[in-house]
């Protein structure tokens, strides 16, 4: 992976982190806020899996296993927060 290919996800991760933090500092709460924050975490996690862990260029099974962990955890957390959030 070239430096440019590695730098792009890093910049996206920084921007998404600042976005989540900024949103949280505005004092928002509720289901829409929960959905936005967890969707952002999902995007960030996928970037780490694909570009930092380099699983995009690994056998598909490993990319699926780690992605499934991320998706499952985020979906269950979202469901629990939506139930009473």
């Amino acid at each position: 992976m070239s430096i440019v290919m590695a730098t792009r996800p890093w910049i996206f991760l920084i921007v998404l982190t600042l976005f989540s933090y900024g949103l949280s500092m505005q004092g928002y709460s509720g289901q829409v806020f929960v959905l936005i924050l967890l969707a952002t975490a999902l995007m960030k996690g996928q970037m780490i899996i694909d570009h930092f862990m380099m699983l995009k260029s690994a056998p598909l099974m490993w990319r699926i296993i780690i992605t499934m962990w991320l998706v499952t955890v985020i979906i269950v957390i979202t469901a629990m927060y939506s139930a009473k959030g």
């Binding site: 590695a6 920084i14 500092m25 967890l38 975490a41 780490i48 780690i66 269950v76």
Partner: protein, 192 residues
Amino acid sequence: MHTAAIRQQKILPGDLAIWFFICAELLVFGVLFITYAIVRSHNLELFNESQLILNKHIGLLNTLVLITSSYFVVLAVNAIRANNSRACTFWLITSIATGLIFVFAKTWEFNEISARGIHLSTNIFYTFYLSLTFFHYMHVILGLIILFAVMLKARRGGYSEQEHAGVETGASYWHMVDLIWIVLFPLVYLVR
């Protein structure tokens, strides 16, 4: 043609064993995250109120630091794949240095919370918060020890373009620590 074909092969970075270890670690953290969400749904007011005491600025700093440290590790892997041991060592040192910022900031945060008289048995939120973040903190420390050992070997010229599984194995563990924090940070600090 042959070289191009090899490059196009799908190869898992590092030793296979580390990926089974990573799966086991993710499973444990996954269960803890889901348990936190379930318990929170039964103690909504307590969790929302207790969460207000947490220092979001430190949480942000630690997230930026871990992401950046992971990025430096990617550059270290790139360097050794290009047979550049010196650059690999440099990027590993920078990743360890940024990782140490996490450790110092988190230690300060634990001290701050302890000074407020908050401990594991204060309430169920703090039981989860302290357990989850301390468990992750221990993984950060282990990750730094691994990166340090890899850095020492890279400095001695122990890795090359052909043989660098150790660098990729250490890198994969460090990225796992980052991945876990990416879920832990919004879950504990931000989402309410």
